[in-house]
C-alpha cells in the first residue's frame, strides 16, 4: 500500500486524543486519520510502507524506513524535521509500537512534564538557535537515525537496535541522547565488538548491568568523558578504541577476541 498521505496538525491532535483516551483501553487504532481529508495531507513523496509487515527489532524497522525513503528519493535531511510524518508512521503501525497486552490494555508511554507528553509516538519539536528539530526520544525516528548513521558499517548499529520496536531502553537513550556517541560510527562498532555475541546473535548477558565491571553505561559516560580529554575516538578504529580501554573492560575484550 502506498503511504501517500500523512497527518496534518488536526490529525495529530486527534491522534493525541486517541492516546489520551481510547489507546489505553485497547480501542481500535484510528488509522482512518491518515486518509480523511480533514485530518491528513498529501505527502510530497509517496512511500512504500506495508501495513502488514511485522518488525522483530528496531534494526529491521530502521532498515525498512531507510530503504523506503531511499526508494522515494528522500534524504535524511528531508524527513528528520517532519513531526507529522513521524507521528503518521507510528500511527500506521501503532499496534506494534504500542501492543495490546494480555489484559486487553495498552501501556501508553506518557511524560507529563514534557511539552509533548506522548513524545515516544509524536515527536517533540525543539528549537535551537532558530533551527527547528525533533527530539530524539521517538520510537520510529531514532531507530531510523541510528540505522542511517551506521548502515555502511558491518554491524549496522544492531547492538543498539536489537530490541523490539515498542521498547526505548536505557541503551538507546544512552546512545541517541549523546551526540558524541551517536555520531561516532567507530564507537558504535566498538560497542558491538565488546558486547555483541556473534554466535548467539544477541547482546552478551550483563552488558548493561550497572554493578558489572566495564558495562556499557560506564563506557559511554565516565570512561568516555575521561578519555576524550586525551584521546580522539573519531580518528581511531573500533579495535583501537577497544584496546585502549582500561583494565575493567578486560573481561569483555577477552570474550570478543
Amino acid at each position: 500500500m502506498k503511504f501517500s498521505r500523512i497527518l496534518n496538525d488536526e490529525g495529530v491532535n486527534k491522534f493525541r486524543a486517541f492516546l489520551d483516551d481510547g489507546a489505553v483501553t485497547g480501542e481500535p487504532v484510528p488509522t482512518e486519520l491518515l486518509t480523511k481529508q480533514e485530518t491528513s495531507q498529501i505527502f510530497s513523496k509517496p512511500l512504500d510502507l506495508d501495513q502488514n509487515i511485522v518488525f522483530c527489532s528496531k534494526l529491521e524497522l530502521g532498515r525498512y524506513l531507510d530503504n523506503a525513503f531511499e526508494k522515494a528519493d528522500l534524504r535524511r535531511q528531508n524527513v528528520i524535521r517532519n513531526r507529522n510524518l513521524w507521528a503518521s508512521i507510528v500511527l500506521h503501525w501503532f499496534d506494534q509500537f504500542c501492543p495490546i497486552g494480555s489484559d486487553g490494555k495498552r501501556a501508553v508511554s506518557k511524560v507529563s512534564y514534557s511539552p509533548e507528553k506522548y513524545q515516544k509516538y509524536i515527536p517533540q519539536e525543539v528549537t535551537e538557535y532558530g533551527s527547528k528539530n525533533l527530539h530524539y526520544r521517538h520510537l520510529a525516528l531514532t531507530p531510523y537515525r541510528i540505522f542511517e548513521r551506521n548502515k555502511l558499517s558491518q554491524n549496522e548499529g544492531r547492538c543498539i537496535l536489537a530490541g523490539p520496536i515498542h521498547i526505548f531502553g536505557r541503551d538507546i537513550e544512552a546512545v541517541s541522547g549523546r551526540a558524541e556517541v551517536f555520531s561516532n560510527s567507530q564507537l558504535i562498532e566498538a560497542i558491538h565488538i565488546l558486547y555483541w555475541d556473534e554466535t548467539k546473535g544477541k547482546l552478551r548477558p550483563g552488558y548493561s548491568t550497572e554493578t558489572r565491571a566495564g558495562n556499557i553505561h560506564r563506557l559511554l559516560a565516565d570512561v568516555r568523558n575521561q578519555r576524550k580529554k586525551t584521546q580522539d575516538w573519531y580518528s581511531m578504529t573500533a579495535r583501537q578504541i577497544v584496546e585502549s580501554l582500561p583494565e575493567e573492560f578486560d573481561g569483555w575484550k577477552n570474550r570478543s577476541r
Binding site: 535524511r76 535531511q77 528528520i80 524535521r81 528549537t127 535551537e128 538557535y129 532558530g130 533551527s131 527547528k132 528539530n133 530524539y136 537515525r145 541517541s176 551526540a179 551517536f182 555520531s183 561516532n184 576524550k228 580529554k229 586525551t230 584521546q231 580522539d232 575516538w233 573519531y234 580518528s235 581511531m236 583501537q240 585502549s244
Partner: protein, 258 residues
C-alpha cells in the same frame, strides 16, 4: 592544550541550502603551540544536535581548508557548532573552544567579534545601535525585557534568524556610514592599519565589494560630493544581503521552511 579563540576565525557563508563553513586557523598567534608536531592532523569538527561532520584541514605545518566545506551532512541549514582539534595517532594534542555559528551572525564563533551585544532597559524602544568615537566596539543594545522574554522561549535574540535578518543590514549600513561619512576615515588606511573594530568592519565589508574600497572624503571640505561613498555602502549591504539570501530566508522562515 587549548587552542586560543584568536587562532580561529569562522563563519557560515551561505543562507540557502546547506551552510558553507569559512574557517581560518592561524596557530602562529599562540606561542605555547609552537612545539606541536608538524605532521599532526588538524580537524574542524562541525556538529548540530546529533549530526556530525569532520573536515580535514591538513597538518600543523601546512594548514589549509579542504576543497569542499559545505556542511551538507548536518541537520541544520542555519547553525553549526565547531571545534578545532589537533590529533596525532589517536591522541588529542590540542583543542579549541566550541563555537556556535549562525548564518546571519558574522564571526559569531571566531575571534574577531565586530559587534557586542548588551542588554538594558530601553523604555519601550526594542533596540538601538551605539557607536563610540573611541576604540570601544559598537554595541547592539537590546531591551532587557524583550531579550529575557525571548530567552524564556529558548531563543536568544542574537541567535534569532528572523530578528537578526532584519537588524543586521541596518547595523551594517549605519556602522559603515559612521566610519566613512561622519568620521570621514580613510578606508584604505583602516584596511592596512592596526587591529581595531573599524578595521574589522572595513575588512568584512570588502568581502562584498571584490576588495574595492571607496576613496576617502576630504576632512576639511564640507561641500564635497559623498555620493560615491553612499553608493559603495549601499552596494556592500546589498551584496551582503544577497550572499546570505536574507529576504528569501525570512520568507522561508515565515512559511515554516528552513
Amino acid at each position: 592544550m587549548k587552542i586560543p579563540n584568536e587562532c580561529v576565525n569562522a563563519s557560515l557563508v551561505r543562507m540557502k541550502g546547506p551552510p558553507q563553513l569559512d574557517c581560518q586557523i592561524d596557530l602562529s598567534a599562540a606561542t605555547h603551540l609552537d612545539g606541536l608536531p608538524a605532521k599532526a592532523s588538524v580537524y574542524v569538527d562541525a556538529t548540530f544536535r546529533s549530526s556530525f561532520m569532520r573536515l580535514y584541514f591538513g597538518t600543523v605545518d601546512s594548514i589549509s581548508p579542504p576543497k569542499n566545506t559545505i556542511l551538507d551532512d548536518l541537520d541544520s541549514t542555519t547553525v553549526a557548532k565547531i571545534v578545532v582539534r589537533i590529533v596525532e595517532h589517536g591522541n588529542l594534542i590540542a583543542q579549541s573552544n566550541r563555537f556556535t555559528l549562525t548564518n546571519q551572525n558574522p564571526h559569531s564563533g571566531g575571534s574577531k567579534s565586530i559587534i557586542k551585544v548588551e542588554y538594558r532597559q530601553l523604555n519601550g524602544r526594542p533596540w538601538k545601535l551605539e557607536i563610540y568615537s573611541d576604540d570601544t566596539m559598537p554595541a547592539m543594545v537590546l531591551d532587557e525585557d524583550w531579550a529575557s522574554t525571548c530567552l524564556k522561549k529558548s531563543i536568544p535574540i542574537q541567535d534569532d534568524l528572523q530578528i537578526m535578518g532584519v537588524l543586521m543590514p541596518q547595523i551594517f549600513e549605519a556602522i559603515l556610514e559612521r566610519i566613512l561619512l561622519v568620521e570621514r576615515r580613510n578606508a584604505y588606511e583602516l584596511y592596512d592599519g592596526d587591529e581595531t573594530w573599524r578595521k574589522n568592519w572595513i575588512v568584512f565589508a570588502s568581502q562584498f565589494s571584490d576588495g574595492k574600497l571607496p576613496q576617502a572624503i576630504d576632512e576639511e571640505d564640507s561641500d564635497i560630493d559623498t555620493s560615491h561613498v553612499l553608493q559603495w555602502v549601499d552596494s556592500v549591504v546589498n551584496k551582503y544581503c544577497e550572499s546570505r539570501e536574507i529576504s528569501t530566508s525570512l520568507i522561508d522562515l515565515l512559511e515554516g521552511l528552513e
